[in-house]
């Protein structure tokens, strides 16, 4: 029998543990209200469409822009919801 070890990710520098196989959106939700980005007028936003359409859940994952709902958490992953300046250029 294999034991599924928890995965640890950093969200804005804070360690968060969760079971393997979870999306980055799931990791964000462990820190309510689970925000992912700041909009061009400064509103905080969270995952919305859940299926890679709306791009509300875009975050920086290890320095690259990824969609939280379509990205799997891996051990040691650094997720940043802050350094996504004002929605960023498209």
């Amino acid at each position: 029998m294999t034991i599924a070890l928890p995965v640890q990710v950093l969200i804005d520098g804070t360690p968060v543990q969760l079971p393997p196989g979870h999306s980055v959106a799931a990791a964000l939700a462990l820190r309510p209200p689970g925000c992912s980005r700041t909009s061009v007028t400064g509103e905080r936003r969270a995952p919305f469409c859940g299926m890679g359409i709306c791009h509300e859940c875009r975050v920086l994952v290890d320095g690259r822009r990824r969609l939280a709902c379509q990205t799997l958490c891996t051990d040691g992953m650094a997720i940043d919801t802050r350094d996504n300046p004002a929605g960023g250029p498209p």
């Binding site: 969760l18 079971p19 196989g21 979870h22 999306s23 959106a25 799931a26 939700a29 462990l30 309510p32 209200p33 689970g34 925000c35 909009s39 061009v40 007028t41 509103e43 905080r44 936003r45 969270a46 995952p47 919305f48 469409c49 859940g50 299926m51 890679g52 359409i53 709306c54 791009h55 509300e56 875009r58 690259r64 822009r65 990824r66 709902c69 379509q70 990205t71 799997l72 929605g87 498209p90």
Partner: protein, 424 residues
């Protein structure tokens, strides 16, 4: 080392029921099939895999069957971002693909679009608050592991998807405090009376009926400081305010036609990609199957996918043998399209300061005076953000009757490395 170009016989975009069925139909003929999907696992929306879901047996069978074919290459986490440069004569258009690591031009003899459908997401006051999601969106997030145990959830909008979303939330331990369906009881009864023509659907509907389901009801406003705290609803002639942790709203489905339109494919009267009886679009070498040809459910998508797969592999007889079964499910699709028209009230939920374009934060009042989609884009940046109008384009079609212009090259944000490689 990064791969600049890749070649296959059949490229299938979208690994939901249609794409999986197509790959399995085409593979026995020996075609080199590449199946790409931007999600973490194959399955599309209805068969989405993850820690928050137990896959239905039919989905598992399709997944296992894909793995048994060495000539089917499944690439998840892979997105079509645009056009991939010139194609060989007689081949399908080449596409520019990108995954987490690299980008490349994917060439194929034949291309099959199984892009599925997305939710129609309509603006209302408070819809940008954290805690508000799509209805299918909530389902997808829960399947991916978003915890909802013990949370109070309101679901609103229209169509059978609301009940399916409530079922997923309930199984994940949430308390569904209201399902607000905008259609009238009369419309729902008319729908229910037709259902016995598709016994499996009638049975499914019976298991999904929820005690908190109300007709002639719709969302008015989501409220909270920094995050959702409560929802105001219209319920028949009365209003109610419910405290909740999540609000999930879906107003129907919209076929994903952006890639097809980029390639020049024509649309049909269901706002899907137009196909002939063997699933060929109006562009040579390009086929389409499933919800992107006009939504109609997974049974229809499976049949359209299998027909497309057989047809591309040259087995027209086997493709045609499936047409009578497809006709039955096209009837179900007709029923879905006819029974849940949006009420005038639901089309007018946004207040003047409600943001319509969530990417560029464009409020309703900035759009109300514009003459059309292009005029709005040029003057307000509506539809010019990261989602490229996938949300607000469909919304403004409902709100203002605008027809979004067909997309151009680069369908979504793309890494500069992918583009630099393209022009090497």
């Amino acid at each position: 080392m990064s791969l600049r170009e890749s070649h296959c016989d059949l490229l299938i975009v979208g690994a939901g029921p249609a794409g999986m069925a197509a790959a399995l139909a085409a593979a026995p003929a020996g075609l080199a099939v590449t199946l790409v999907d931007d999600n973490i696992h194959p399955g599309g929306q209805i068969w989405r895999d993850g820690p928050g879901v137990a896959l239905p047996p039919l989905a598992r069978q399709h997944r296992d069957a894909l793995a048994r074919h060495p000539n089917i290459r499944v690439l998840c986490g892979t997105r079509v971002v645009g056009l991939g440069g010139p194609a060989a004569p007689g081949h399908a258009p080449a596409l520019l693909l990108e995954d987490a690591e690299r980008g490349w031009a994917q060439h194929s003899r034949r291309l099959l679009l199984c892009n599925g459908a997305r939710e129609l997401l309509l603006p209302f006051p408070g819809w940008t608050l954290p805690g508000v999601t799509g209805a299918g969106g909530l389902q997808a997030l829960v399947k991916g592991g978003v915890p909802v145990r013990g949370q109070r959830i309101v679901i609103a909008g229209t169509g059978p998807l609301l009940l399916a979303a409530a079922d997923t939330a309930r199984k994940a331990g949430a308390q569904v405090v209201r399902i607000a369906e905008q259609a009238s009881w009369q419309a729902l009864a008319a729908f229910a009376l037709q259902l016995p023509r598709w016994p499996a659907k009638a049975l499914q509907a019976a298991t999904l009926i929820h005690p908190r389901w109300r007709a002639a009801s719709h969302v008015l406003q989501a409220e909270g400081a920094g995050a959702l705290e409560r929802v105001r609803l219209q319920r028949g002639p009365h209003q109610e305010t419910l405290a909740c942790d999540r609000l999930a709203c879906g107003f129907g489905l919209v076929p994903n036609t952006q890639l097809g339109q980029l390639l020049g494919c024509e649309l049909n009267e269901r706002q899907g990609l137009r196909v002939d009886h063997l699933m060929a679009t109006t562009v040579p070498g390009v086929h389409a199957a499933g919800e992107c040809t006009g939504f109609g459910g997974s049974e229809r998508a499976l049949l359209q996918g299998a027909i497309a797969g057989h047809a591309v592999a040259g087995d027209t007889a086997r493709a045609q043998a499936l047409l009578p079964r497809l006709a039955r499910w096209e009837g179900f699709a007709d029923l879905l399209h006819a029974q849940f028209p949006l009420s005038p009230a639901v089309r007018q939920l946004a207040a003047p300061d409600t943001l319509v374009c969530r990417c560029e934060d464009v409020p309703h009042h900035a759009l109300a005076g514009r003459t059309g989609w292009i005029d709005a884009k040029l003057h307000t940046r509506c539809g010019m953000g990261a989602c490229q109008g996938r949300v607000c384009g469909a919304a403004t079609q409902v709100l203002f009757g605008w027809t979004p212009a067909p997309p151009r090259h680069l369908l979504s944000p793309t890494r500069i490395g992918t583009l630099a490689q393209e022009t090497d």
